[in-house]
Each structure stands twice: as structure tokens, then as C-alpha cells.
Symmetry: C2
Subunit: 103 residues, 2 copies
């Protein structure tokens, strides 16, 4: 699916790292919140509260979950980050488009 | 209203000017398309196909519609750009969050 249907979208974006990461919050009919976003070429570190699943919509990234090795993730692939952890993400070339699912 | 309800959201963002402007496309139940986006500090020129109304959700900008003078637009304010025209927009300091309505 290239889009979410029957959802609410918060008009104001979430801007992280001076705009290197920008997302909009989406709420599904069952109350579940997700975010749709973009990471521009950069290497960023994100801390997690709850566990997150990063689903790649377009582009590719390298990522390293705390305590693990660097891996790659491209369109149609996902990776899960535990809660109360962190991950580094490296994007080069094209923007990395994602959906973030909170678990 | 701080959000759109019962809409569809395209997961992949629209990235303009190397990421200085990033938006997501939203479709209302009646088929109307809008976009929710952010412009980071920069001065950009956009060309219009159909007429557009730029509604400021947060932040402030200066803008100049082709053939007119520079004006300002802040949260809660809107400006309309004719179709087949262009406008310059200047954002400094905080990001400018907007909803773009196509007329």
C-alpha cells in the first residue's frame, strides 16, 4: 500500500536535527499512531522510548542498533529497534522515506 | 483544527530543493488533494500550475507573488497564488509549516 486511508494527520510536522529528519504524525482509526517521514543525507542517532519498527518506503539506509553491527535496509524492508535503546542511521544520496510504527 | 480527519496520506513524501521543502500529499473524502509540509530556512521560488492557497500552520514567512511586493504571512494566515504564476518564499529562523490548498 502506497498510502494510509481513513486516518488523521497532524498538520504541523515534527522537525528533527535541523530538518535532516521531518515527519508527520498519522493516527489510524483504532487510535494507533505512526509517522510518515523523510531522512535527508546525514548520519543521525535516535533514541527510542517504546520499540519502533522503521519501514522503508523509498531509498536505502544503513543503520546500527545499539550493541549491534551496521546493516542495510531498502524499500519494502523494515527493522525493529527495542524500546529504551538507540540507533544510528546513515543516509547518503537519495532521501530515505519511511513509515515509523510504534510497538 | 490542528489535524485532518478521515483522509488518505501518501507514504512517500514530496522532496523539493534538496529537502528545503518537504511535503506529504493528503486526500480528503471528497477527492480534494492538499499537501502538508515544511519549508526550512531558505529562499525558494515555486511555480504554480493551478492556483494555490498557502495556509501557515506554524512559523512565519515572507513571500512575493510574481508582479507583487514582498508581504509576510504567519500562523493562521493564508495567501493565494494564481495559477500559471510563481512566488518566492523566504523563511528564516524557525521552519515554516503549511497546508497547501489547490484551487
Amino acid at each position: 500500500m502506497s498510502q494510509f486511508d481513513n486516518v488523521s494527520v497532524v498538520k504541523k510536522a515534527n522537525v528533527y536535527f535541523d530538518g535532516k529528519c521531518i515527519s508527520h504524525t498519522v493516527q489510524l482509526p483504532d487510535g494507533t499512531k505512526k509517522s510518515v517521514g523523510v531522512i535527508l543525507p546525514s548520519t543521525l542517532t535516535f533514541n527510542t522510548g517504546v520499540a519502533e519498527i522503521m519501514e522503508c518506503v523509498s531509498g536505502v539506509c544503513r543503520y546500527r542498533i545499539k550493541g549491534e553491527d551496521w546493516k542495510s535496509s531498502g524499500a519494502g524492508q523494515s527493522f525493529k529497534v527495542p524500546g529504551n535503546s538507540s540507533f544510528e542511521i546513515e543516509v547518503s544520496g537519495e532521501p530515505y522515506h519511511y513509515v515509523c510504527h510504534f510497538a
